[in-house]
């Protein structure tokens, strides 16, 4: 029999705050985390803004000598994982560590380390490349280091599907518990790619907003004047737990995972398939996973990147899946506030989705000023909305044509 899987711990490092309380307060108050890039001099770049993580003191989470050997994307993951474990109030002395695993997503990995070491090689020669270059840079090191810091000896892997990474990771972690291969899984995503080469690459793709004059208004999903995404960074980490395991220890349950679906566009390296047909199939798969009636969905945390195509096609996909019910949905893109955390986006958006269920509040899409006739659903403009949320669905769509959807449900006994 399929095991039931619940969410029992939340941790995050985000551009709008660290830990679930600060994050939830910011996104329900409509605070933007976007500002001018401070990590490097972006004067020569068409895009000079990003949603950077502020006030991250790594030594609050990781010993200095350990942190030195971690790229920032790994530090964010370990910090987020520790916050999620703390939030779950689980007694790690009492768990079977072989039943405790990790699946994390990251789109890019240790690109800051890559850039630093490449520069060192050019300046000083190949013999000066750090022995820590490879173990800091490789993308699986987030799930590797998290396993080491938590003693998680069970299933462990990494998902790399660009901006869908974290949602795929959560889905895979859910399936691992569902089939009985683990009782506890740390999952979600992490990203730290606000670096000179990375921002330059996204600029060249013309994928990012150039609204440099008003940084906090640049991320405007579903608004007619949207002009690209705003890069964010951080981590969004959840502890998933097999239901009986959670009940036995009296855990607080945020919600139940009741659906995971994924698909490929098989269409283009970066452009979404016309009418969002790939995203549509991911949503249908996720709803079909445990036979969730589409009319029961109350809230969709949209991928909503603020690029012209994504938001239009995602809207078409939602309308195609939900038919007449599409108009009843509360939809929002929290990327309007957090920016786009790429491979970590699905992590913080899963947290937003389960907290919407817990609190009965839908976070808003800020900067929604000018309606677009192509985007004609209820995007929860500018103000959070009180609404009972029994079911929430979260979409993540990535370059390469990866589409992933997860569905959360308010926890009930049966």
């Amino acid at each position: 029999m399929k095991k039931r899987v619940v969410v029992t711990g939340l941790g995050c490092i985000t551009p709008v705050g660290h830990g679930k309380e600060a994050f939830w307060k910011a996104i329900t108050e409509g605070q933007s985390g976007v500002g001018e890039i401070t990590k490097f001099d972006a004067a020569e770049y068409p895009t000079k803004i990003a949603a950077e993580v502020k006030d991250f003191n790594v030594e609050e989470y990781i010993e200095k000598k350990e942190a030195k050997k971690m790229d920032l994307f790994v530090q964010y993951a370990v910090a987020g994982a520790k916050l999620a474990m703390e939030d779950s109030k689980i007694d790690t002395e009492k768990i079977d560590h072989e039943d405790f695993g990790v699946v994390l997503g990251s789109g890019i990995g240790g690109i800051a380390t890559f850039e630093d070491q490449h520069k060192k090689m050019l300046e000083k020669g190949p013999r000066r490349i750090s022995p820590f270059f490879i173990p800091m840079m490789i993308v699986n090191m987030a799930s590797g280091q998290v396993s080491m810091s938590l003693g998680a000896k069970g299933p462990n892997t990494t998902v790399v599907t660009a901006c869908a990474s974290a949602t795929n990771a959560i889905g895979e972690a859910y399936k691992i518990i569902e089939r009985g291969d683990a009782k506890l899984m740390i999952t979600g995503g992490t990203e730290a790619s606000i670096t000179p080469v990375s921002i330059g690459g996204f600029c060249s793709m013309k994928a990012m907003s150039t609204a440099n004059e008003e940084p906090q208004k640049a991320s405007r999903p579903f608004d007619k004047n949207r002009d690209g995404f705003v890069m964010g960074e951080g981590s969004g980490i959840l502890l998933l737990e097999e239901l009986d395991h959670a009940l036995e220890r009296g855990a607080e349950i945020y919600g139940e995972v009741v659906g995971y679906g994924m698909s490929a566009d098989a269409y283009h390296i970066t452009a979404p398939a016309p009418e969002g047909e790939g995203g549509k199939r991911a949503m249908l798969k996720a709803l079909g996973d445990r036979d969730t009636p589409m009319e029961s969905i109350d809230y969709i945390n949209a991928h909503g990147t603020s690029t012209p195509y994504n938001d239009q096609f995602e809207t078409m996909a939602i309308k195609s899946v939900f038919k007449d019910h599409a108009k009843n949905l509360s939809i929002s893109s929290t990327k309007s506030m957090t920016g786009h955390l790429l491979g970590a986006a699905g992590g913080i958006e899963a947290i937003a989705s389960v907290l919407a269920i817990k609190h009965g509040i839908v976070p808003p899409t800020i900067n929604y000023e000018t309606p677009d006739e192509e985007c004609d659903l209820d995007y929860t403009p500018n103000q959070a909305k009180e609404r009972t949320v029994n079911y929430a669905l979260s979409n993540s769509l990535g370059f390469g044509g990866h589409n992933a959807t997860i569905v959360f449900k308010k926890y009930q006994d049966s």
Binding site: E63, K64, K65, R127, R128, S130, P131, P135
Partner: protein
């Protein structure tokens, strides 16, 4: 002088506290919990600092900090 500089490099590279006791007899691996990658990085930093090349076979023979300091003293 050489000892002080080598000590400073080790403290920096291993992210140690300033108060960490480091003597000539201190072993990187046994006393300071450095692993083989740490050792490679420390040797690199010492090469940079003193403008010398330390061949791998020499570096592998270092038993403690004193050995490193003596090698630097004799070859800089």
């Amino acid at each position: 002088m050489t000892f002080e500089k080598v000590k400073e490099i080790i403290v920096e590279q291993l992210g140690l506290e300033e108060s960490q006791e480091i003597k000539r007899e201190t072993s990187l691996i046994n006393d300071l919990e450095a692993d083989s990658l740490d050792a490679v990085e420390i040797i690199m930093a010492i090469e940079d600092e003193f403008g010398i090349e330390i061949p791998d076979e020499e570096a592998e023979g270092f038993k403690n900090i004193g050995d490193i300091v003596d090698y630097v003293e004799n070859n800089k």
